[in-house]
Symmetry: D2
Subunit: 134 residues, 4 copies
């Protein structure tokens, strides 16, 4: 079952077509995975304090319908692949409990503070894998 | 040959990893296609005035290396597919004339002012196709 | 008593100094007044539907200390002046219930859908004034 | 005479009122002072490499008229005050060589890499003062 978090669309996130500008969904995805990781016991802020950084290496998004100012969006996030040095999250964004407006994924590569590839710490690897099996 | 435009990285576009945040490349892609369309004689601002809107329906991005504050980036854009009601652009972002840091594409769907699908105007279709053959 | 709403700092909102970039506080102010107006019975989304737009005409901000990624911020907003065609909000942003990191204000001018000055509707004027007296 | 730099409004910078969202002018101010400092021989990127950071401590903006998508804006920046540990810039943003749409200022406080107050290096102080006299 995906993790869910809600977010209200800000005026700043709209554009002159009267809808949410397409890049803003990457911020909703970031919010979704931050909260999904917190809920799973691997707070991203703590990872960085331990020298574990997750850099986005790939993004894919499909836009099916538009969100508007002040809409209350639900961001559903789940871990869909776990490697020794990377994680994949898949996302859906909907208005409240409606059909997805936008779907997407991000691949995250584990790097150290100098942006060099490194392995995920064993504890994180285990927690991430346990999410996969959910 | 792709259209090229340069853009200087703003401080606002960096994040606490010290590099350009991943969503910002979608803004560089927007800049790239805006200028590529202007150069090809189909200024996007004029299209909207004629009731022709191009909504992003799909995005894909691969991040190969990082850009930093104050880097002078080159955005290379080209039209890679033209349909009756859609256009695809492919992009590369590099530091000056270096190897690509980021590659990506956007699919644009033609809609009217009420966000309903419509065909590209014949003149735009022709101009876009002529870019394809370049 | 000011209206309070909480917001979690996004990674996207940080910059390479490792703190929240200064323009992002204007987004927290927007969030603050949107929720303060909703709580006071004048949902901004409904105002726009009635042809009443509030355009920012002036902004002032003082930065006393920094917020960081993943901080849970409290935005305190209150209406501090009401005119026939304008509203002033004052804001404080703090980490949870701490001392203000940032203080500021925005003046909002009431305009119609063509961006021409107009008066606030009587009901909004009354609601806004009642907030002043709180 | 103020330093001038041009910037084209991005679609991303518009909101559903069809104009540039108010926080975006802080990004144009950032661009203005970055280029003004480069032109004056004190590239901000180099300052940070020397451990000299300029943190925004105060912002004021007045919005007189709106900019729109694809407008070519001129940002005029000048240094209006220089202290031992701070700099003030004033800005005007106009469409090409028109009347100002937006005016504003930022106060910048000099800090070290740990965000503690420090003095401006003598060379920067001298260069900044020489700009004042222009």
């Amino acid at each position: 079952m995906p993790h869910e978090v809600q977010v209200r669309v800000r005026y700043e996130e709209t554009d002159q077509m009267g809808v949410v500008y397409h890049s803003k969904y990457l911020h909703f995805f970031e919010l979704g995975r931050t909260e999904a990781m917190r809920a799973a016991g691997m707070r991203y802020r703590d990872l960085e304090d331990e020298g574990v950084f997750l850099a986005v290496s790939e993004v894919g998004v499909r836009y099916l319908a538009s969100a508007r100012y002040d809409d209350l969006l639900t961001v559903r996030s789940r871990i869909t692949a776990v490697g020794k040095a990377r994680l994949r999250f898949d996302y859906e964004v909907a208005i409240e409990d409606g059909a997805p407006l936008v779907t997407g994924h991000t691949m995250l590569a584990c790097v150290d503070e100098n942006n060099r590839p490194r392995r995920l710490p064993p504890r994180v690897l285990e927690l991430a894998r346990s999410q996969l099996e959910v």
